[in-house]
Amino acid sequence: MSGMKKLINDPADVVSEALRGFEAAHGDRVRVDHENKIVYRKDAPRQGKVGLISGGGSGHEPMHGGLVGMGMLDAACAGEVFTSPVPDQMMAATKEVDGGAGVLHIVKNYTGDVMNFEMAAEMAAADAGTEVKSVVTNDDVAVQDSLYTAGRRGVGITVLLEKIAGAAAEQGRSLAEVADLAVKVNDNGRSMGMALTSCTVPAAGKPTFDLAENEMEVGIGIHGEPGRTRLPLAPAKEIAALLVDPVLTDLPYGDGDAVIAFVNGMGGTPLIELYLMYNEVKQLLDRAGITVARSLVGNYITSLEMAGCSVTLLKADDDLVGLWDAPVNTPGLRWGA
């Protein structure tokens, strides 16, 4: 048991048992296909509405299962911890949520996720003739983009995208419109994350990496992987700058822009620290002349019990803010309903 302190039974059963608890807690809004490990919006399929599907490895809760419900996802496919789901799941979900208006796959840019969703889309097209479009999120500025690499990771923007695209689908926008909007959200969003601690994949039984008491990892993703650089631990003020600066310069965001600002916890960092970080982030944005139209602070796209945080900025126009404000009713995100 060394190195693993978790509220679990057999590591092999973590995902299926958590899904049972999730369904028991939220059976008013979702139903769960336990064999396929798919969380469905309870009233899916919605006739005439574009179906939204996402999925990925487990361990990022509330994303994605906790983001299923009115105004957001129609289905979420849960893989093993940090392992993308398999094509069969996405195929089944695609069929199930198709209300005649087509289905959008929201995929985070990881080799495994992309390949498994691709296979599912090929199979779904060949099989049922469902119209499927895909959007791949890749907002992580820690990774240098290049034609010759796997590209950037999809991280925090995925949560904002699922909210905004979900609202658009709820309004009755077409598959092409929702897909275009999703691409726009991804293109206008950038993120950067850091970790104070590693995390332990249940099946592995010990922390993915070791980090000394006075060290932190900067430029991490959401799979407990080490980041781009290891730095000495620093005050929140400096950490905020390490995260915000590369985000601001990458797009670039500038004086006069309005953004949706998202300070996300990696799972083991308590709210008191996330609010303290948001205070720092807000000051940096003020200094850069950037207005915060809306904000989100909390643990939404996590890496098991990792301590740390990420900052996501999304350049927002009135359409995006309106869609952000639209009612949403999921276990993880809820307002106006």
Partner: protein
């Protein structure tokens, strides 16, 4: 001659090897990935063994079933990659029941082309392809000596390719996110590929 029985033995042997090496594979993946390659392969090969119990008449059916099973149970990068390998490997052997060294080689090539089609890896991207590429070359060079010898050569070459991934900076897969920090670590997928070929060399002839 390789036949459906020996293929069955191979996959069962590989499943055992993967189970015994799951800790190693996960540890390698922890260093430059997300610490799941051992669990992924173990889960997949257990499912393959369960599927084998149904019994198969023809090599292609058995191999395609293995591929489908891997696709359906592994997930991650390795699921589609190994799954596609076995699907194409099997498809290339359609109609063949007694597989000679030449046919086996052609099928291996087809399988690896599937990996490339899915993953778009190139040499020295620090992926399983860095084990597959030298393995195919060695196999081709030794094919005249028969299946057993060719596979032994392929396994040895794969091991060299695996070791050669250590200094590389990853350009594909999760390890690429680490940039320069990925250098100095052995690629987990190249490691499982080497195990697969070593198992083949032990069980096929």
């Amino acid at each position: 001659m390789t036949d459906v029985q020996s293929l069955d033995r191979w996959l069962r042997d590989f499943a055992e090897v993967v189970h015994d090496n799951a800790g190693l594979l996960t540890e390698l993946d922890a260093a430059i990935g997300d610490a799941d390659h051992g669990a992924n392969m173990d889960r997949g090969m257990k499912a393959v063994v369960a599927a084998l119990d149904a019994g198969f008449e023809a090599p292609d059916a058995l191999l395609k079933k293995a591929g489908m099973t891997l696709v359906s149970t592994v997930g991650g990068a390795s699921g589609p990659l190994y799954g596609t390998f076995f699907l194409r490997f099997g498809t290339a052997l359609a109609g063949v029941t007694e597989i000679g060294a030449e046919d086996l080689g052609k099928a291996l090539h087809a399988g690896v082309e599937g990996i490339l089609a899915r993953g778009k890896a190139e040499l020295e991207d620090k992926t399983m392809y860095d084990a597959w590429a030298p393995a195919l070359e060695a196999y081709d060079a030794a094919v005249a000596d028969g299946t057993g010898a060719a596979l032994a050569a392929a396994a040895a070459a794969a091991a060299k390719g695996r070791d050669a991934t250590i200094p590389l900076v990853a350009r594909k897969g999760r390890a690429s996110y680490l940039g320069e920090r990925s250098a100095g670590h052995q690629d987990p997928g190249a490691t499982s590929t080497t195990l697969l070929l070593e198992s083949a060399a032990r069980t096929l002839s």
